[in-house]
Structure formats: C-alpha cells, structure tokens
C-alpha cells in the first residue's frame, strides 16, 4: 500500500519526484525549505510534551523492556479543542471536542485512553475513587455549549479507577482506557468527536456509619483530559513489526507510575 497523503498538503510534483514513498520526515528532509511555511498554530502544553517524551524514550529504546513491548508504531496525543464546563454539587460535566484531523486512514486504532493529570498538594497519602461517564455528544449547531445536566442517562458502563496521591509525587498521570467506546468513532474516520464527560471522584475511604461519602479534592484539581491514541500505521513508510519478532500487544499496563491502572467495571467490583 502506498502512503496516502489525503491529509497532507504535499506538492504533487514533489511526491512524483520521489515516487510517492515520501513520509512526512523524508518530505521535510528532502525539500530545500519545506519547513519555511510550517509554523505550528497551537503550541502544546509543556506537561504533555514531557509526557510524550517519556513515551518516546520508553518506546524507542532498542532493548525494549517487556513492559514496553507493544505493537503500535504511532501514538497521537490530542488536546481538547473546545470545552464547556458545567458543575454543580453532584456533577463535574465537560463537553469536550477533539480534532482527529491528523489521524490518517492507514492508522488503525489499537487503544485509546483519556489522559488525566491530577495535581494535588496533600501532605498525607490519599486515595480517591473516580467514576467516569462518557458519551458521544452530537454537536449542537447554534451554540457551542448546550446544557446537559438534566440529561444524565449513561451511554457506557461507568468506568472507575483509583488515584493514589502522596506528597512525593505532586502530579499523577492516569490513562483511562476508553478503547471500546471510541473505536467505532475512530473507525468511522470522523474528523471531530464531541464527548460529554462526567467525572466524579470521592475519597476512597471505608464508609462510616451513616454512609457519608466525602467529595475528594482530587476532582477539583484535574484538568480536561487529553486523548491519547495508540495506532498501527499500515503504510509502507511506517516501521512494521514482524510477527516473528514475537512482540505482543501489551497496552493494558499503565507504565507511567509503575502501577497498572486497570479500570474495573462497577459490576465486577460489586461482585
């Protein structure tokens, strides 16, 4: 298969000149001044740049550790484009849209996660139990933010994960796996996706008589999640791992904070 440039503004004569094997990298290397007109419109947040540099280091090590063995040859971190926040005592509702413009047709989705960074200033170790409710939101034409608090029916089983904070680590990254939910949207090659995300975190404490549950301070300090897509680019210019190399997909482990944040469905937890 040839590299499909439907998303690229490659000058036709250049790609013909190099027989259409031009990856974005070769295009930049081979043209005299290709980067002259390249000025990123939006500069990503340095926190996410640091996060992706760690992913880069782990993924590109020649002697990959078994944990980092993976099959993806592409990963894309997409920060939210639009955001509407609604909050009351019960909910922290976010209406977020992500642009999937850069995802190419040959990039097959392996895993997609919502990447949260929780900042805290606790002195004592603290564990919060967070519940995440995600559903696709049809963009309303006339206004960017349409009010949803009244419509709170769930679209996917509630995802839950724990966030353990301690004094040493001020920022905790959590990847929440939403692959099964996002897969159909990404496979449909949508250019934009609009999600309605409701995240509620409570202090993960043993319920006391009276069942009072305390709202966790963690929820208040998190920012809108970015979308991290792990993809397998099937085009010729991308590195193809041979099956014989015996590397299996192990994208379930969260290899950033040494602990695997595997999501648990509420029903299994009850069981």
């Amino acid at each position: 298969s040839c590299y499909n440039f439907e998303n690229e503004s490659v000058e036709p004569d250049v790609s013909l000149h190099h027989g259409n094997i031009l990856s974005p990298l070769l295009k930049a290397l081979s043209e005299q001044n290709p980067w002259g007109e390249f000025t990123p419109r939006a500069k990503p947040d340095s926190r996410f740049v640091r996060y992706m540099k760690r992913l880069y280091k782990l993924s590109s090590k020649p002697d990959k550790s078994p944990e980092a063995s993976h099959l993806y040859n592409t990963a894309r971190l997409i920060t939210p484009r639009e955001e509407c926040l609604e909050q009351n005592r019960e909910f922290f509702m976010q209406d977020i849209s992500y642009s999937l413009n850069r995802v190419r047709s040959q990039e097959q989705l392996l895993k997609s996660v919502l990447l949260y960074s929780f900042d805290h200033n606790h002195v004592t170790p603290f564990t919060s139990l967070c519940y995440l409710d995600v559903k696709e939101q049809k963009p309303s034409r006339d206004q960017m933010c349409s009010h949803h608090l009244s419509s709170t029916q769930q679209s996917v089983p509630l995802l839950s994960f724990r966030v353990h904070t301690e004094r040493r680590v001020r920022r905790r990254w959590v990847e929440v796996d939403v692959t099964s939910f996002l897969h159909p949207l990404i496979q449909a090659h949508k250019k934009d996706i609009h999600l309605l995300i409701n995240l509620t975190c409570v202090a993960d404490m043993v319920p006391r008589p009276g069942g009072q549950v305390h709202k966790s301070p963690v929820e208040l300090t998190h920012r809108s999640p970015s979308l991290l897509l792990y993809l397998n680019d099937t085009s010729e210019v991308a590195y193809q791992r041979r099956a014989t190399q015996g590397r299996m997909v192990d994208l379930t482990s969260n290899h950033w904070d040494g602990k695997s944040t595997a999501w648990e469905s509420a029903s299994r937890k009850r069981r």
Partner: protein, 127 residues
C-alpha cells in the same frame, strides 16, 4: 568517518583475524546530523540527532563469505575482470536497516510519536 571495523556478520567463525588497520574495503560509516542543523527542531522535538550511516569502499574479489553476498556478486566480479570491464564491479551497499522513531509537534498542536521504516543503515554488503 573512520570505518567501524567490527562490521563482520555474526555467522563469521572467530578464527578469522579482525582487521587491525583501516582499509578502503566496503564498510559502514557514521554520518551524524542534528535536526536543529536541518532547521527541523521546531517540528521534531525528539531525538535531537540522527545518524543514518552509509556504506562506502570497494568490494574485494573474494566477496562471498565475508559480506554475505549472493553468489551472483562473484559472477558480476568475474564479468568485470574477465569479460567486460564496462560492467561495473559489485557495489558496497547497505543490507540491513533500523527504524527511526521521532516525536513531532503537528501543526494543529497535537503531539505525534512515529516509527519510520529503514531510516538507519546497520550493515553493508557487496552486490
């Protein structure tokens, strides 16, 4: 540009003495370039350097075993020497490659990790 004299296939029995002096036979050379030199560092944020390496040198007559060359390489050598010197000698070219992983900032502000095929030569052969 000093040749890496260790460019011998693993299958080579250890009996054969290592080259202890640089020769101009086919070998792998470093070619280090930085993306800032290429004015690409605002797009590629990792790695900072890129060493694609390249192969250079002449192919000795007995090229079979040392370079893992196909048999045809010897045939071409015989054609050059015995039959028609307008047919070129076998050339020293890369035979194996490694991918290159890069981290880029796309123009919509997203961050992409990508692995590109065959961007670093790791072995040379004559053919």
């Amino acid at each position: 540009g000093t040749p890496k004299s260790t460019n011998l296939p693993e299958t080579m029995p250890k009996l054969i003495p290592m080259y202890d002096f640089p020769t101009d036979e086919c070998d792998l050379y470093d070619f280090r370039v930085s993306f800032s030199q290429l004015k690409l560092d605002h797009w590629i944020i990792a790695p900072q350097k890129y060493n694609p390496r390249y192969c250079k040198g002449f192919c000795p007559r007995a090229v079979g075993y040392i370079y893992g060359s196909p048999v045809h390489t010897m045939v071409q050598n015989i054609i050059y020497e015995k039959l028609d010197s307008s047919v070129p000698r076998p050339s020293c070219v890369p035979s194996e490659y490694n991918p290159l992983s890069v981290l880029t900032i796309e123009n919509d502000g997203s961050i992409a990790y990508k692995e590109y095929e065959e961007m670093i030569a790791t072995k040379c052969t004559c053919r």
